[in-house]
Symmetry: C2
Subunit: 353 residues, 2 copies
């Protein structure tokens, strides 16, 4: 039996190798010293300085700074973009500050239902999980779907079964419990009874984290490694009080996440339905490839013209193969940061900084 | 109680009206007499004339012809593209010939797990369901997600709960039972024990429908109505023996389905993982919009160059707002057909017709 399993694993790995053949890089030796860059976000939304306590703001800035520094160390060690994106998203998932992994919001049934996706800009391989509840780090499940399955997207119990077979760390629902998030759920359920829209989520209600809009808070990362390869990843707990197995843009390749060495790597955050309908992440890539626009022009047009026209709130981070960065958003704020090879670093929250 | 329900329905419909505000058509009165066109597909794959019995071939051609004629009647009556796409996909779902609805294949656990999506090219609204097992017509569930929820995509038990609350027709698993599909599953499970790839599905094994590749068989439709509006829809039972809650391209807006009055309506069929990674449906639209290519150039480039380069097997149907049609595929065959306003009609199966 064990022999059969090992043979099967060998065949799977051969298949995976075939799947990951470089179809896309045109990579040469001289590119093995590409400048390395890492960009992360921790969600966009109604984040107002007037609602933010200084000690909370400091927590966010410190966390983003620490994650960027750790990610840059990995890039300098020669880790690939796919590895670094996975690792930094794990750090963000493990922090209760963000709506992903440990900080994930509660759905209507009072449990966490998380989504994540990852894409390799070199091979155009991708992996995603949707609606998982017992996986400590959904981004690592997405990575295993990409590396060790024939599929791109797995969902629900099936995705959890796959993660279990892959020996990924599973946790008890208690791991995700967070009193502030629970109060958010109770408030959201209360509001649902009297109104249909999602107004009044200004961060002042019910003891939720100041400045933390309970619709948003997705995390994401895009990276350029020394081999000149891009990768993008996104992870989220979705919307507080979400029902009916709702899937947002975060686990959808093309909508919430996209990477292609020939254009850019993109991770999105915002009101997912609008990002799906606008195929936002891929759209930035398409505008660059088909119209020869810069990453700044493409990303700005998608977020501040196309999304705005349909009232789609949110933002994205984007990085091209030369290390150019764009971080547009059309909300009051977006937790975001970038670090370059020389160690220079920017961490920002509000729209006026 | 009934009053409350009616009030809620009224509020939902007001909300839906607001959501469906025309953001995209630039429609004027003179366009209310657009030429109407309907295109459908019943899946692409290794469909060989040498494997096809004449009486089976006739069944497919008769069914596609009948669906096209019925759809054209609806368009001439003034039905919208969204309505017609939903209705003709229901007809294809109700037929055991195709891998959707009644003809859906069995997953690894021996049940049907179906996906569908629908997009309105006028409003850019969209709806989708993934992994549903007891809904007679998944395309109608996708329609209700679009019309009666704030969401684009619902999955699994949650999507079934939503369908139930929306009074959609639910059926017993027996409804989907089909001996030929069951034999396909048994064969696929047997093959999995000895091989990892999907070769040998040439339609001759185990009594499966001649010429019916068990990986493929998705159905789809794209329509142009007299108001000049496009819509696209796709429905599938996925892959025989699929595991782990695998989600393919069919329920993913941008990958399997996309519609936009400013470019085109697209429905895809094929090896879903490659269609997701290539964001195929939206890519056709992007090439038209950003490079001013014709629908034939854009669709052909995506299917016969981009997909082929990554060994992605399959095809698509596409229709622009002037009524131009493209139906490229890179497999041996694709069940497909188009009908124009004057009643002229084409139904084709193989690659050499």
């Amino acid at each position: 039996m064990k022999t059969i399993t090992l043979t099967a694993l060998f065949l799977i790995s051969m298949f995976t190798m075939d799947k990951t053949l470089n179809v896309n890089s045109g990579q040469t030796d001289k590119e093995f010293n590409s400048p390395v860059v890492l960009v992360i976000h921790g969600g966009a939304g109604t984040i107002l300085k007037s609602n933010m306590r200084p000690e909370i703001e400091k927590k966010y800035r410190d966390m983003l700074t620490s994650v960027l520094n750790q990610g840059m160390e990995l890039l300098k060690e020669g880790k690939t973009s796919v590895d670094v994106v996975e690792q930094v998203i794990r750090m963000l998932e493990d922090s209760p500050l963000f709506n992903a992994g440990k900080g994930a919001v509660f759905n209507h049934e009072g449990k966490q239902e998380m989504d994540a996706s990852l894409m390799d800009g070199k091979s155009l391989n991708a992996g995603a999980v949707a609606g998982v509840s017992n996986i400590k780090n959904p981004i690592s499940a997405a990575r295993l779907v990409m590396d060790n399955s024939e599929h791109v997207m797995l969902s629900g119990k099936g995705a959890e079964q796959f993660a279990k077979e892959q020996k990924l760390e599973l946790v008890d629902p208690d791991y995700f419990y967070n009193e502030k998030r629970y109060i958010q759920l109770k408030n959201a359920i209360k509001r649902d009874n009297i109104q249909l829209d999602h107004d009044g989520e200004d961060g002042k209600q019910g003891g939720i984290l100041p400045g933390q809009d309970d619709k948003f808070g997705t995390v994401g990362a895009v990276s350029l490694d020394k081999y000149g390869n891009l990768a993008a990843g996104t992870s989220t707990g979705g919307m507080t009080n979400k029902k009916y197995g709702r899937v947002g843009d975060s686990p959808l390749i093309g909508a919430g996440t996209y990477a292609n060495n020939n254009s850019c790597a993109v991770s999105c955050t915002g009101h997912g339905e609008f990002f799906i309908r606008s195929v936002v992440a891929y759209d930035v890539s398409a505008i660059m490839q088909y119209q020869n626009k810069s990453i700044k022009e493409a990303a700005d047009y998608v977020v501040n013209t196309k999304l705005k026209n349909i009232k789609g709130a949110g933002g994205l981070i984007a990085l091209d193969a030369k290390g150019n960065v764009a971080m547009p958003f059309n909300t009051k704020g977006m937790y975001r940061g970038v670090i370059y090879q020389d160690g220079s670093l920017e961490v920002k929250i509000y729209d006026d900084e």
